[in-house]
Amino acid sequence: MSDNSNGLVPSSGESDEYAYSAGAGLVLSDAIADPGIEPHRVRMTDKSVKHEKAAERQVSAMFVISILGSIFAIFAYFFWPLDEANLDAVRINTMFLGLGITLGLFGIGFGAVHWAKTLMPDAEVSEERHQTRGTEENRARAVEIIKLADSESGFSRRKLIRRTMYGALALFPLPAIVFFKDMTTEANPVEKLRHTMWQANKRLVQDPSGVPIKAAEVTVGSAFHVIPEGLIEADHMLGEKSKAAVLLVRLDPQDIHSAKEADWGYEGIVAYSKICTHVGCPVALYEQHTHHLLCPCHQSTFDITNDCAVVFGPATRALPQLKIGIDAEGYLIAKGDFEEPVGPSFWERKAN
């Protein structure tokens, strides 16, 4: 062992056996001794008056910066006032106010820390930690107090009181849960998820202008953002829009790979729900050559030539298609509501 290259020699020298003790995982006979506190290092500010004076000046300089910052913030408030008509003024106002307040606070903080580190005493002091377990005497006294409280209150003895109290505690949150029922006023709220504003003969109109769309105006390669006619005036406009929004594109009929898609469209014009079946973001990023529809939130990608089947991403269902046709004046109309609920899955939705 004496030629051990690491230079460590077992303290006892008896054997290589390890000593064990309760609480400590493992005690090695050649454990490294507690090195104690690092020797105190004298700072330059302790050694030389010049450095001490410099540190003093630095700390005061920090506080002076803080003073100037606070004054600057007050000055900036008046000198660069907010002007609602000019957003550039808002930018300059917030920037200089923020700069002044930041300097005001940072100067105090940096000054205080620098002061403590360079000029205040820095002698190392160790404070031993004690065990958290109380003395036997204290522990016995605590048990005594609890037992006394139990016998005086009769908590263990009076079972009727104890059990009714448990019941009261269990029931008191229930009214709050029942109140959740008021989050919808509908008798059957699930029906709201199943239906949208679309119905037979309702015209497709442009979002946001409300102008109806003629089939002849929808050229190959174009994308129209569509809402049902009357949506703009509807009650709960945004709620209805979040279900009824539709994307309308015209494809070359030869590109459509689904007989149902071609049948539900009108001469290559197809309308699909814009609400992603994953978590309901608006799927509106249409690529006119790849015919991909991309959802910007989680990159679910739908193939608009194949009934909007999912080709990539977390969505699991195709986008629902809206059956469309034209009216006597040549405007595009819906032939009814979507045949399945739009948007993400919900508890009562049947799997398909």
């Binding site: 290092r41 700072r43 330059m44 500010t45 957003l87 550039d88 808002v90 930018r91 917030t94 920037m95 820390v113 580190k117 360079t118 820095d122 442009q206 979002d207 946001p208 202008s209 769309i213 003629k214 105006e217 929808v218 050229t219 390669g221 174009s222 994308a223 129209f224 953002h225 594109v249 608006p282 509106a284 990023l285 249409y286 690529e287 006119q288 050559h289 790849t290 991909h292 991309l294 910007p296 990159q299 990608t301 990539f312």
Partner: protein, 267 residues
């Protein structure tokens, strides 16, 4: 007089009379047409996209720079689409932004330093426009940013923002494609992109977005280009990902730096 009389009398039975009259008639109508069409040509001389000289020069440029991919007659090949009917606006957009001629195949042709000067772009556009009618380069009045910026913002958020970002900072599409940043786009480029639908962008015809709508959108984008964010530095307007990354790397780094300084001993 007697000469004319005699001539008329003698010609009455001439077998060539009918032929001469027909020939004269053809000559007059043909000459008249030639004069009239000459007048049309001179009226179009002011439109550089219809000038015969530009079309001829454009054809030479086309054969030298574009035909290897788009075909000798611009009918397209397996490498590139047909340019029949894409119009002058499409050529002006693609060539003046440097997207065309492309440097290599890839998911998307990037914008780069233009290879041709303004006159050459006009010549190429004139040639492609001469092949078949298509969208024309918009007039300066059509692209002037003097519309309604508020209405334009609403139209932009409905029709453009899903790909180009709410303030036109651009964004990613599928399989390496992207919607470019619009912060340096000129009004004419924006208008041409809407009417031609370059690469995978859909076309926004005048029935979809009327010329007034297009002008409003251009006005909105010009406003956004000219007005810096009131909230200070906008981190390229890329939204929560860029902002979160900045906070994690720079602000958290600053906090860690201060913490180390707090714990370090003074010299």
């Amino acid at each position: 007089m007697s000469f004319l009389k005699r001539k008329a009398n003698s010609a009455r039975r001439s077998p060539f009379a009918a032929a001469i009259v027909i020939a004269l008639g053809l000559l007059l109508s043909g000459g008249g047409y030639a004069v009239a069409s000459g007048a049309v040509t001179s009226a179009n001389a002011s439109d550089p996209y219809k000038s015969a000289a530009n079309i001829a020069a454009g054809k030479k440029l086309f054969l030298a720079n574009c035909a290897s991919c788009h075909g000798q007659n611009a009918g397209g090949t397996s490498a590139a689409p047909s340019l029949i009917g894409v119009g002058a606006a499409s050529v002006d957009f693609q060539v003046s932004s440097g997207r065309m001629p492309g440097q290599g195949s890839g998911p998307q042709m990037p914008s780069k330093t233009p290879q041709f000067d303004d006159q050459q772009v006009i010549e190429l556009a004139a040639y492609v426009a001469s092949l078949a009618p298509g969208p024309e380069v918009p007039s300066d009045a059509a692209v002037m940013a003097n519309g309604n910026a508020e209405r334009g913002g609403s139209l932009f958020r409905t029709n453009c923002a899903m790909c180009h970002n709410a303030v036109g900072a651009g964004g990613a599409l599928t399989e390496g494609k992207y919607a470019p940043n619009l912060m340096d786009s000129e009004p004419r480029e924006i208008y041409e992109a809407m009417i031609t639908g370059p690469q995978n962008m859909p076309v926004f015809s005048d029935a979809n977005l009327t010329p007034t709508d297009k002008k409003d959108i251009i006005t909105y984008l010009t406003y956004v280009q000219d007005h810096k964010s009131p909230g200070g530095y906008e981190l390229a307007n890329l939204g929560p990902v860029a902002e979160g990354l900045f906070a994690w790397i720079f602000l958290l780094g600053l906090i860690i730096g201060i913490t180390i300084w707090l714990g370090a001993k003074s010299n």
